[in-house]
Symmetry: D2
Subunit: 345 residues, 4 copies
């Protein structure tokens, strides 16, 4: 059994980790910390877990965490980086779902997050947890930086095109849409049902923190410089990311069988699913599932390729991918505990 | 392995059976029939099942169905009763999710459903699939009549009160609310998102087909005559039943510790969960889960008891309960394949 | 022109007052106060009002308010009662949408609201703003107490039955459902889209503050004592109240033509609409409209009558009804500015 | 009074025309035709109109229509063009909300709509009803072709950039999102609440019928050739269009004050509203209103300009714009009857 601790279990990423981990056959949840809810039964806060977990939230306890095989951080940024060095030193492997270790360049991180990084010396050690790119390094990672929800969909969507050099990498566009759970379980007027329901909007058009993370990832896939215009939007739904990606095909791209390029790229991937030509993915098809579904189209056979990609922001975009990485790190079958189909309707 | 067939797999009950059965360790799905979609891949109609099932819908085939250990009917009423006699004769056990065998009185059934019953001689054999009432008979059932979605919630909510004789059984009220998936996967203008979203309404106030089924069930629990006012409503959500039940406490009821009555009644039940006093259930807590959560309140300490009950209409109200019964019929652990927690948020 | 001030214009009742008043031909909005948003343009907070209003929120200013013909309080309880005495003394007429003057018995008010009432001596002066009951008194009111959203629907639904003495008034049940805007524009986790969407729940089953208000109103309609069981619920929609009312018919009730009783009772009412027999109201039919639609049914021709009633909680349940009362108080055509049809779909 | 007839009043565009026209002070609705609902009261089909209209749907009647001053066609394509020649000949002015006269090139129309055009000789007479481009011609139009919902938002968003020659017109991208009412009031499984709620998808990525209409409009604004990639999406909401437009700035564009370009372009327009820099529009801000709100951003000060635009697809995207054109055609104040603010929340 893998003994795991969860730091910050009161958010949506936290409860999603719990939903998946309580059903994982080889995991034992040792503790869940939360300052705000310390002492409260987990199932009292999340009634969907009644009968599935008997723990109470506890105050953060470094020793108890260090006694775990793996610790998940489901915290806002600027939390994990304060505890990670000690945990790593104690031999505990860390799976950080926050942004603290996603960006390799400390100065860039500090510019976007407005904080001084607490342990820049660990950034080189951190492995970026996108198994479709970094499976081998993930297996041996001590410190795993889970990708953001938008970056997962956008990178998986552009990856076959960039790796094969089929598009102009300097004029990429990612028009992405998220369900409201992406904003977290926080009391903000903007995310009230009365505000966010039956409406649609763009936000952070001038610049979103996921931009440098995505550009870093895309650059690693491309032999050319990368520039991305990334516009996130909020849709009136609970879960789901839908990315619509636009790129200009170069000569090689115009000549290629793009459907085949994608199918070949992901043929061995358990959690990336290229739809047959002519079908488009819907977020509901992957609700609750650790899956990214993709489609490729060249509208009117012109020069712009459009990739549409969906995932559940809390699963393949967060908790599910984190467990996928955990499985790799602890020599489990990669799909263990995260293979269930989505909830449709 | 239990070899199962599904008749009518293109509706919401059908896809929910598939979602649960593909993950059931001891079930093999042998065939899924649909006249309308014959030849089409199941995963093409339901993309959430891509990678989980490789079957195509087939035309109904009596021999292939008779070769199964169990056949699920996820059909409208008036279908199962035409095929059941032959299947039963062939030794196949039938789990009917439709209304054909729910009502023991053929004349009453015919009055509400406007059809002549095709095999009234089997009504006495049919076991009503509410495990909390009929677990023993379910184990040996050849023909199982799964309860309707409303009847499950309403009966589980009234059961402790009626069995203990604590309320006036002649003035019961069930104010019930359903998500739109209860209306099935049918092209009706009333159920369009543009019609049903952001709105709420009662329907069938004068009389709903679940009324005689519920009254039959409640009568079996009560030593007195039963009369129920049942008003169903439609809420703008996909899944979920919420029942608010009202009853007048009699002298014994006013003296009783109702919270304890409910907790004792369901102490051994894996799928009925009595909430602590002061908490009220929400449908989202059981989204995707085979669970009914209940709360008991006596407002203002007057004479009316209010029970609120929630379930997922497609799980504990349909497919999940059917599999719970299948587990009992085939000597499986009762919770096998249907123990996962709900999807929250 | 009626010169009006609005205290507390940043909530949903406030913005709804503004939406209606900017289009009212005989109203001039003189000021809108808000401590929290003082100095901010109203249309900056509510972009739907861009081009319709040029005011900024201002700090509360007693003199400026006293210079108005009418002041609307769209505040939480415990605010209006601190300012009302001075305004009344200055000759300004007050239309209070909060709970401060709804209950005539100060002790009862204090029990439910947990505060000492600041001006109990004004309670006798306050006129309860339900035009269908109190039209004459409203015309001359100096201090108008607007009914709550639930109380409006529940009272309009029971009124014809109680006034005609057709039901047992001691066992009334009101099962009521509200959209989330009823909870106000406040940052609470429970009302996030991710929490409240795709779900349904009861709340405050043990006792809700609208209970004493409703019982007071129903008692005034009935020659007998009144007791009500009132259970409010939250539905995943923005606007709308749906009330399902249950009462036991007495001998006179069983003999009566209930459809006609309702139609006669409301024949002259511009904003209460009795649907033809067999139709049931939907909240969307009155979205944005100052209308209450009603239907009457006796299920299975037994002894329980079921009334279903809908309104928009922010219009007939709040701002629209307040303007209806203002029209009466200032000798305007009662329907002026609030006659537009609902927004469907 | 302008005497109007409506052909095809049973869809969402039809009921929206009715909602607005019943409140228009200078319009008399003479008849509403519908083969399917002939003889039924309009307010029976649309209960939101109870008390606002007393007409029944009637069978189409050419003489009765020809007796009107104006006839609105709220029909699918391929209907209006069969009746228009006779109406025009009779001196009745036609306002067609369908696609029949939007595209000036009959061959292009026939390619996208798969029909032979019934009166190509009238295409030159038809005036495209986008007042912000064609106000003068609209005033004298006999036959008005109302723009589609997507084309309105996309053209208004690109117009200032193209007219001023600030972007590369050959690589335009319009990523557009619609509420489900855009699909019409038709019984299709895909648009059921259970299918479309809590989900998001692209559709018609390979080519949508609004593409040639938009390209025709954009070409008229630009001195260069135009090529557009247009990807429509479906969001889980009733109303609303959100367009996110991408264009590469040319040298002039990089030098320009884009905020000012937009503000100047629309300074005199009553129904186009450029938001202050840093704000982004939401569809809910214009729910029920005849308004298009726009924002301009250059993310990271690079070379791609992003315009976000919202409208209510049924108002500025259909019925409201049609009435705006009617006002122009009949010498009314342009804003008459369509000036009300949106319904928020």
């Amino acid at each position: 059994m893998i003994k795991v601790g969860i730091v910050g279990g009161t958010g949506y990423t936290g409860v999603e980790l719990l939903r998946l981990l309580v059903a994982h056959p080889n995991v034992e949840i040792a503790l869940i910390t939360s300052r705000a809810e310390s002492g409260r039964e987990v199932a009292d806060l999340f009634p969907s877990l009644r009968g599935h977990i008997n723990l109470c939230f506890t105050d953060p306890d470094d020793d108890a965490l260090a006694a775990c095989d793996a610790v998940f951080f489901a915290t806002p940024h600027n939390v994990a980086m304060r505890s990670v060095p000690a945990l790593i030193a104690a031999g505990t492997r860390v799976i950080d779902l926050s942004a603290d270790f996603r960006i390799r360049d400390a100065a860039l991180w500090e510019r976007w997050y407005g904080e001084v990084h607490a342990c820049p010396e660990l950034l080189d050690d951190a492995v970026y947890g996108l198994p479709e790119r970094n499976r081998k390094q993930i297996r041996s990672a001590r410190l795993l930086a889970c990708p953001g929800c938008y970056p997962t969909a956008v990178q998986l969507g552009f990856m076959p095109l960039l790796e094969a050099g089929l598009v102009d990498s300097t004029s990429l566009i990612a028009n992405a849409v998220s369900g409201v759970s992406g904003a977290g379980r926080q009391a903000k007027i903007d995310n009230l049902l009365s505000e966010a329901s039956d409406s649609f909007k763009a936000y952070a058009v001038g610049g979103h923190r996921h931009l440098p993370e995505i550009e870093q990832g895309l650059s690693a896939m491309s032999s050319e410089a990368v520039a991305l215009t990334f516009v996130p939007h909020l849709a009136p739904m609970i879960r789901g990311i839908h990315a619509t990606l636009y790129a200009s095909l170069n000569e090689a791209g115009r000549a290629a069988d793009l459907q085949k390029v994608f199918e070949d790229c992901y043929a061995q991937e358990p959690f990336v699913d290229v739809l047959p030509a002519g079908q488009y993915p819907q977020t509901r098809s992957v609700r609750g599932a650790n899956s990214c579904q993709l489609a490729i189209t060249v509208p009117q056979d012109r020069n712009t390729v459009v990739v549409t990609a969906v995932e559940d922001n809390l699963v393949k975009g967060a908790a599910g991918q984190a467990i996928q990485c955990m499985n790799l790190m602890f020599d489990q079958v990669e799909t263990l505990g995260i293979a269930q189909p989505g909830l449709l309707p």
